[in-house]
């Protein structure tokens, strides 16, 4: 291989040539970059075959009635019509959202508190980080089995504890009561991801320079003011990151309810999530058409969230020094202050 194939850096294109000649040069110069194309090709090839094609194909499947083996019957929008009236689908949607809310909000709040505690200059910090992070790398199947025994209706540790505190009548039917089921699943999510989010917040806190704090303190700002006016705004992108990842994770919850409660999602399907319902319809009932329709409904939900997230993110731009420029809310605030000052 000769040096010219490396092609760094791309020189400015000559602009004043006839179009036909320029086109010929472009093809030839594109060929010159074959090592670059070869090196990025695996990802795109795999994506086309195992990513894009299945997605397009799943649209087709969702318009059919098919068990995966026999004849595919085209049924048009019937699967989607059925979906809109399917109480179990909507129950799965609401289950997913309830579990997402009762897990994400406490989880991110606790993670923020833990990050602040770790941010003090304390000993044992690296041990704490590892100990808090370990849940995140543990297989959910094994942990669901442990939680299943801890929260078992009759003999579980959780109920033994409640009885010890509140007398022999205390105790919750964790794995049969609709709320007990949701709380148990949410607790598993919280257990697994609080440390992970705390570590991320901690990194965000460490990225804020101590000079900013010092100068705020010199200016007479108290702890709460520093927290609400400096720490939180500067953590905003990091918080956004954790919200996005928890949303994606929360909407695709599967392992916890499946291992804990089985394919139907437990008593009265109280623990059936969207992905679990999709799995149940496609791979237990072998209703591939309906399973694909459910997958597309989930995709629409994820897309809605992605758009909301994207709007929040794109509000944040950086100036040439890499400092965050104010987002839409910040700009609105700036305008307001400007107006106030003008009125003064």
């Amino acid at each position: 291989m000769t040096a010219h194939t490396t092609g760094v850096p791309l020189r400015a294109k000559p602009r004043n040539r006839p179009i036909s000649e320029a086109r010929g040069t472009r093809t030839r110069s594109a060929l010159r970059f074959w090592p670059q194309y070869v090196s990025i090709a695996p990802f795109y090839l795999l994506f086309v075959v195992f990513g894009a094609f299945p997605i397009v194909f799943s649209i087709v499947i969702s318009f059919t009635d098919w068990d995966g083996m026999g004849r595919m019957t085209f049924v048009g929008l019937k699967q989607y019509q059925y979906l809109l009236g399917d109480a179990r689908f909507w129950q799965s949607v609401s289950n997913t959202f309830i579990i997402w809310i009762i897990s994400t909000i406490p989880m991110l709040f606790i993670a923020l508190v833990v990050a602040f505690l770790l941010h003090q200059n304390i000993r044992l910090k690296s041990f704490y980080r590892v100990a808090l992070f370990i849940p995140n790398v543990t297989s959910m199947v094994a942990i669901a089995l442990v939680f299943g025994s801890v929260f078992s209706d009759q003999f579980g540790l959780a109920n033994a504890f409640l009885k010890w505190i509140g007398g022999s009548n205390a105790g919750v039917a964790w794995l049969t009561d609709p709320w007990g089921i949701k709380i148990t699943i949410a607790l598993m999510v919280i257990w697994r991801f609080t440390g992970y989010n705390a570590i991320i917040y901690l990194a965000g806190l460490q990225a804020i320079s101590s000079e900013i704090y010092d100068s705020a303190r010199v200016d007479g700002a108290g702890t709460w003011r520093i927290f609400s006016r400096i720490t939180i705004p500067m953590l905003r992108p990091v918080i956004l990151f954790t919200v996005i990842t928890s949303t994606i994770g929360g909407l695709s919850l599967f392992t916890e309810p499946q291992v804990l409660l089985g394919n139907t999602g437990g008593t009265n399907n109280a623990g059936s999530t969207i992905v679990l319902y999709q799995y149940y319809q496609a791979f237990q009932n072998f209703d591939f058409g309906y399973g694909s329709a459910i997958a597309w409904a989930l995709f629409v939900l994820v897309l809605l969230f992605a758009i909301i997230n994207w709007r929040l993110v794109s509000g944040r731009k950086e100036d040439e020094f890499g400092r965050a420029l104010p987002g839409p809310i910040g700009r609105w605030r700036q305008r307001n202050t400007a107006k106030k000052e003008a009125g003064r």
Binding site: S29, I40, G204, L298
Partner: protein
């Protein structure tokens, strides 16, 4: 607080620190520190308790596990439980399959992602911007969307039940390329690549003897990350590994749970076997791993 608080280290601050005021302040700091550690320890104990409980249960008989009052301490049934599991279900075979799948997937991802990231970070070529944007968009595609069609595709390819169905589709991914591109930009100086070019090294040569060694930190992280993710993957192997004799660890464990749900000691011993290798790998690479996870989130 007044605007006249003394600056840290100033004579005024030192005088106050040494005076009676300083003593109470020191005492208050001590209390704060104790409270801080106590709060964190609550979190640490909650994080680690399920592991202890898993271990304790795997050393007990089922009667002990569900006995009342609850038995907090390990018993002596560990070997009996482990032998019981291994003689009734091929957990060691599943363990081997998990090592094959996760190990080869990690190696493939490390190679393909670092090569692509190196290219995207350090070279200009026509269509680069568009191609990178496409790569970012693929992030948004949720994996669960293609569960059904992927299964159909695998059955057309004849891969249903085979381990390659767990390896090939994920051999290069957008996340790793994106991540390693960040690494390239910070830890791989352009001058180095330029000088390699001047010395007559071709593209792949430059990647192999300059790019890859300089990126080894990021590549190692991606390898561990991929290994752990693949090891813990549950839904895809559950769908695709239709042959009960060819399983990876997670579906095998779930199978153990449904088949022997009355023998909880066995189930827990199986869970313990599935968790231990991963924890060992994580603890070996933990410091590096955690730092990278955090850095990725803050930069990204």
């Amino acid at each position: 607080m007044t605007a006249m608080a003394p600056a840290v280290g100033s004579a005024e601050a030192i005088r106050r620190f040494n005076s009676h005021d300083g003593k109470t302040a020191r005492r208050r700091r001590l209390v704060t520190r104790i409270v801080t550690h106590a709060c964190i320890w609550v979190g640490v104990l909650l994080s680690l308790f399920p592991f202890y409980w898993l271990f304790a249960m795997s050393t007990q008989t089922t009667a002990q596990i569900f006995g009342f009052p609850v038995d907090f301490f390990p018993s002596n049934q560990l070997w009996i439980n482990i032998r019981g599991v291994l003689s009734n279900i091929d957990l060691l075979g599943a363990l081997r399959n998990s090592f094959i799948v996760s190990g080869s997937l990690a190696l493939l991802v490390m190679f393909f992602d670092s090569l692509a990231a190196f290219t995207f970070a350090k070279f200009e070529f026509p269509g680069k911007t568009v191609l990178f944007r496409i790569l970012l968009v693929t992030f948004l595609v949720p994996g669960s969307l293609s569960l059904v069609p992927s299964f159909v595709l695998m059955s057309r390819l004849g891969w249903v039940g085979g381990l390659q169905a767990l390896i090939i589709p994920g051999a290069a991914n957008a996340f790793g390329i994106f991540l390693l591109r960040q690494f390239c930009e910070t830890s791989l100086p352009n001058e180095l690549i330029e000088s390699a070019r001047v010395d007559g090294a071709g593209f792949f040569r430059t990647y192999w003897s300059i790019g890859l060694p300089m990126l080894r930190g990021g590549v190692a992280f991606l390898g561990i990350f991929t290994f752990i993710g693949s090891w813990n993957d549950y839904v895809w192997p559950l769908v695709i590994l239709v042959n009960p004799n060819v399983q990876t660890l997670q579906p095998a464990l779930a199978q153990l749970n449904t088949m022997y749900s009355t023998n909880y000691g066995w189930v827990m011993a199986g869970a313990l076997i599935s968790v231990l290798p991963l924890i060992a790998i994580f603890i070996i690479g933990s410091r590096h791993f955690i730092a990278n996870i955090a850095a990725g989130a803050v930069k990204g």
